[in-house]
Each structure stands twice: as structure tokens, then as C-alpha cells.
């Protein structure tokens, strides 16, 4: 038994975030990922202040563990020939250049398919490979703007508010990995390659499916709802406490009754204003004032424990460091510790799900730029002399 993608090879032309996240998932599931880099390297290598090792920025180190790095100058025919030889024996090509760039380099889908009819060729772009918008440059925050995403977060009537992390990049990367693995499964039966076209704009809309779907059906314009949850229940919201904020998710009648019991306000259950779901919606402000007053007597952490013990959904609002310090993360194996005992250590996130056997994981650190150039050329049959000449010719890092 082995990991799902054991024995699969991915030729990875991606850079920055969405593409490297996609191939990170494939690597975590056991694929061999050969990262093609220019002599300057993936932009993210030198990005962000603190560095891990070999000049690697933290964002780069987070999503490139265990990949192999080969430096190629894709404007040189010799180097494109190396890429072609890698693609010949590969299962997946992943790229996130602007649409048309791979074609111009002689590395587009048609060229790859001619070399390897079974190839699964996946592109990630802002607006897709075809159509009027394909040439528009796009990064996460642009798509957050044009897709409607910035119109959803924050208090009603507030200015456009970005989701404070590159959610479109991370969702698009996962979506691409999903599409690729599905195509590989498809290929086990029909023996055909596949062209996969992921547009970040489309992915953003799918990520917002629970807002987009109702709009498509009802025509009703979605509005910002602050911290109220999807239910819009007054007791599914975030409140201040004696220390820290607490989010309640008391949506059902039984949860509301248990909430009232825990906060010592069973009288609210009998109050005609709050008797049932509809009444509570009609008197939301009054109900929230009562709840807020009661919650002021204890800390968020205390309420969280008390409420969870009674089955009321509740969570203290944490920042990332406190979230990562939760003891159950160790039990879950979500954090992977990489690096030799004598070298600099590195902790990264695993894939976010567990298997019973042969599950996600990686035990190698991210590659230095061009770390595997010579090794990969040797595997392709280049002689030591040819490899030396190849490296010297372009004065590339080895």
C-alpha cells in the first residue's frame, strides 16, 4: 500500500501561491513534483522578511516542501527540450502563467499532448484560458474585488472589505488539485489525457456558493451581515465578554434554551418576545442586549467551556498563535516537523485531512534553487560532462 499519488510525476511550472499550493497538495499525497524555476527562482523565494534557510522566504517554505527544483531558461531551446523530456514521462503538468505564455514557449497543451497523450495539463489563471477577459492580469485581491467577495464581509453599509488572507489563491489551488486528481482517476478508465482550466474568478464564485446560489434563485441582492452567521439568528453572533470575544451559534430552539440556562437567564425562554425563532428575529436587538449583559460576567474562554459542555455551539475568538497552540492539533498531526536535527527546523501544515493508512505527509524540506538540476539531468540520461556544460553554459545555480 502507498500514498494515492505514489509513482505519479508532476512537472510544475507554477509560481507565487495558487499553483504551488495545488502541487503542494499533490506532493503531500505522494507525487514527485519537479519544480521548474528560472535562474531568478519563484518570486516567493525571496518574499517576506524572515527566511528559513538558503534565502527562502516563509511563504515559499510553507508550500514547497519535498519538491525538486530544476533551473531552466525556457527561452532557450535546449532547456525547453529538457522540459519536454520531463513531460514525456510525467502524469501532470501544472502552470499558472498568463494565458498564452505556455503556448509561446512551446509548452502548451497541444505540444505536451503530442509528446504524451495521457498528460493531465492544468492551468490556473485569473479569468480562464478562453474568452474576453483572459488577458486581464489578476491576483488574489483583484479577484476578491471583481467577484463580489469584498462586498460581503464587515458590518452592514461598511466599505469594501477584503478577506484578510489570500482566500482565492488557496481555494483555487485546492480546486486545481481536486480537478487534477479527478482527471487522473478518469484516466485510469479511459486512458485519455485531460486539459484542466481553473479560473480564479470562477473559483471565487464557487467558494461563495451559499451566497451566489440563493441570489441566482431569488434575485435578492446579498447584503453584509457583520458577524451574524448564515442563519442570521440574533444568538448566532459575536459578543464581547469580560475578556475577549465569544461567538455563539445557538440557532435551534433547544440550543437557545440551553444558552439561556448556562448564562443564568432562563427567564428569557418564557419572554414572549423571544419565545420562538420568528419572535427572536423580530426582537433581535433587545435579545442581543440581554445576552451581552449576561456574557460580561465571565471570560470568553470560560463561556466557551461552559457552553460547549451543554452542547451550545460557542467559540472564543482567537488569534492564529492561540489557535495553533490548541492541544488537539498535536493529536491531529496537522503540523509536520521537517529538517535534519543538525539543520534549521521547519514546521509546515499538512493537508488538513487524515487517512487511516498511507495518508498525506512529506518529510523533506523545500529545495534550494536548482538543487536537483544535475540529478534530474542525470536521470534523463545526460552524461556528467553534458551536465557540467549545461550548468556552466547558463551560469546557473547548481
Amino acid at each position: 500500500m502507498s500514498q494515492p499519488l505514489h509513482g505519479y510525476r508532476v512537472v510544475d511550472f507554477t509560481h507565487v501561491l495558487s499553483g504551488p499550493i495545488a502541487t503542494h497538495f499533490l506532493r503531500l499525497l505522494g507525487a514527485e513534483v519537479i519544480k521548474i524555476e528560472s535562474a531568478a527562482g519563484d518570486t516567493m523565494r525571496n518574499y517576506g522578511g524572515v527566511q528559513y534557510a538558503d534565502g527562502m522566504g516563509p511563504s515559499f517554505a510553507s508550500v514547497n516542501a519535498g519538491k525538486k527544483s530544476i533551473v531552466l531558461d525556457l527561452k532557450q531551446q535546449d532547456d525547453v527540450a529538457v522540459a519536454h523530456r520531463l513531460i514525456k514521462d510525467a502524469d501532470v503538468v501544472m502552470e499558472n502563467f498568463r494565458p498564452g505564455v505556455m503556448d509561446r514557449l512551446g509548452l502548451g497543451y497541444e505540444a505536451c499532448k503530442a509528446i504524451n497523450p495521457g498528460i493531465v495539463f492544468c492551468s490556473i489563471s485569473g479569468y480562464g484560458q478562453h474568452g474576453a477577459a483572459r488577458h486581464q492580469p489578476a491576483i488574489d485581491q483583484i479577484i476578491q474585488s471583481t467577484s463580489g467577495m469584498m462586498s460581503l464581509s464587515g458590518e452592514p453599509g461598511s466599505a469594501p472589505t477584503r478577506v484578510g488572507f489570500p482566500a482565492v489563491d488557496t481555494y483555487s489551488g485546492l480546486l486545481a488539485a481536486f480537478a487534477v486528481v479527478s482527471a487522473l482517476l478518469q484516466r485510469t478508465r479511459d486512458k485519455q489525457g485531460q486539459r484542466v482550466d481553473v479560473a480564479m474568478f470562477d473559483a471565487a464564485l464557487v467558494m461563495m456558493i451559499s451566497m451566489v446560489g440563493p441570489y441566482l434563485l431569488t434575485g435578492k441582492r446579498p447584503v453584509k451581515q457583520g458577524n451574524r452567521g448564515y442563519s442570521m439568528s440574533p444568538t448566532a453572533d459575536t459578543f464581547p465578554t469580560a475578556a475577549g470575544h465569544l461567538t455563539l451559534g445557538a440557532v435551534r430552539q433547544d440550543q437557545f434554551e440551553r444558552l439561556c440556562r448556562v448564562i443564568g437567564r432562563t427567564d428569557l425562554v418564557g419572554d414572549p418576545r423571544f419565545r420562538d425563532r420568528a419572535s427572536r428575529f423580530g426582537h433581535g436587538d433587545a435579545l442581543q442586549a440581554e445576552v451581552r449583559a449576561a456574557l460580561a460576567h465571565r471570560t470568553a474562554a470560560e463561556w466557551e467551556a461552559l457552553l460547549n459542555a451543554e452542547g451550545v455551539p460557542a467559540g472564543a475568538v482567537r488569534e492564529l498563535p492561540e489557535a495553533l497552540a490548541q492541544p488537539h492539533l498535536d493529536e491531529r498531526g496537522l503540523l509536520l516537523a521537517l529538517g535534519a536535527p543538525d539543520g534549521p527546523g521547519l514546521r509546515i501544515l499538512n493537508a488538513g485531512f487524515r487517512y487511516e493508512h498511507d495518508g498525506p505527509g512529506v518529510d523533506a524540506v523545500p529545495p534550494a534553487l536548482g538543487q536537483h538540476t544535475a540529478e534530474i539531468l542525470a536521470q534523463l540520461g545526460y552524461t556528467p560532462e553534458q551536465i557540467t556544460a549545461f550548468l556552466d553554459r547558463r551560469n546557473r545555480p547548481a
Copy 2:
């Protein structure tokens, strides 16, 4: 040739959002999805004001198209026996009850594996199937609170701000679909079933990988950065215009120079305060004031067109209705129109990626509650009399 999951059967015990989204992806890729519902139906059926048909709320209609609905009372042995027979011939079981519930119903992983050793059994829960936090009730907004997500959006120093749509649900659903398809691919080789355990808390951290990764490496506490993009560049931010807001993503030097040209301020390029990336960071407020003044002369839509034509990443901030009205969505086939010409129509989102052949899609509407109960029982070999008795006995919708 056929869709990737053609011929695969999913027995779907999920409800609300994360689970139904996971099986929605599997259905879009061609799987048969048999949705097990109680006589009351999936909570989301009656959720939200406007309804599609048969009493279906909009959120339900968005993520259940083409699934088959069978009503079972899982507290009755006869009905659990029906579930067992379905699982015997299935490839995937998906569930998102609280940990332990499926075991108590006689439908846990061990029971399913005994019936069908090749089964891929996937659970989605708040904090995972094992460990101290497993029994904590969790919904999207609770996980957004406890995972650190609410500490990232909004202006520096602002109160905790929820991502204004159930991002954790949608990401967890996609992650579960990815994990399941990967396990199915794994199974083609090792012939073994798999247990998949998706925790929404873990998924939330992975969705924030570009914040979590750097924190794990640097120990530096992430702070809210308003609408500035991941680059933190002063010209990667959202600005008011003569009409509407515009987001710029001018990160690189060449993009900055082209931005200055388009807004008619080439003088800024030569200004020593803004000469290079580091200088611009040091004089961010002054630079933003200049850019803001220039952008006031045209509308966001005008700037978007002018800047994109020059290769400067830029996007007008749209709300969802305007985003969905973009012409390239039709070219992309992102919207699926369902329903008979004589019945109520329904538009839903497709999977968010395209294939060259046999790609994602569905052409059937969401099922009425129990619409397929009799059909499925007949397929299992029940006689018409037995089916009638089964339906009558529990007075269930047929």
C-alpha cells in the same frame, strides 16, 4: 469516455452545507449520490425565505441538484438494513454528524467496512473524529472564531470580523471531495478502502496557509492589514474613485511605472520617495494620497479598463449581481440551467473548473424529499408490496 466518477455510488448521510457541498462536487463529476434523509428532511430544505419548488429553500437547491433522495428512519433496524444494502454496493459513504453518531446508528466505519471492505468512508466534523475537542459542537462561524480567521479581516485594530460567507464550510466540503477522490484513485491500485477524517478547524488553518506558514516559521503574530494585499505594497490596495471602488495590484516596479503613466502621474516614478519598492513602503501614506487624488477623476470601471489594457492588475469592486453579469461567465459555462421548460427553472453554479472532455456538470434538478425512496428500494430487490408496506409503515413522503 465518461465523467471521472461515472459508475461510482455515494451514500450520502450529510446535511446542511459542508457535507452536501462535498457530495455536490462528486455529483458534478458524474457520481450517483443517494441522499439519506429523515422524514423531516435535510435542515436546509426549508431554510431561507424564497423557495424553488417542492418547498426547497435556495441554499438547499444550490448544492443538491441531481442527487437521489431516500427517506430512512435510522433509529429503526429495518431502515438501517436498507442503508447497509446501499453501502454494500457503494464506493463512498459521506457523513457530517457529530463524532460517534454513525457508530451508535450501526453505520460507523467499522460496520461499513465489514459490509464493504473497499468503502471510502469520509466524515466531516468540527474538530475531527478523535481527541479532546471532538465533541465540541461547531458550525462555520464558530470555527472562524476559534481558528484565528476572524482576527485577519478588516482594518488594523478593528474588532473581530467574520469572513462574510461560510468560507470554512465551502473549503471543508471541497477538501473532503478532494480527499475522497484521492482515496478512490489510491484504491484503484491497492484495492483497500479508506477512512477519511476532515476537521473543519484543520481545514480553516490550511485555507489560511499563507498566514499560518509564515507564523510557524517566524513566530511573528499576524496583524490585520485592511485591504492591502499580501504584498503589503501601497499600490496594492482599494481606493475610492469618481464612482465605485477600485483595487490596484501594482506590486512590481514595472507595474508601478505603468500605473503612474495611466493615471497621468509619471512624475511619481522619478520622485525619490517612491523610486523603488523599499522607498514606497517607507512613504506609503504619501503615495496613497497621490494615487487617491488621481483616481478621483474617473470611475472604477473606466480605470479598470484603462489599467488592464496596460497590464496593471486592477479590478472594480463589484457586488455579486454585477459579478455574475460579467459576459465571460457565459463563455465559461459556469452557470448551469436546470429544470424542464414547463417547470420552474433553476440556475446553479458548476464546479468552477473546465475539462476538455467529459467535464463537470449535472442536468437534473434537486430531488423532492423521498422522491427516489420507492425506486431505490425496487433496485434493491424489494417487491411492490414490500415497498408499499415500507412507505406506509412510517408514513413517509414518497
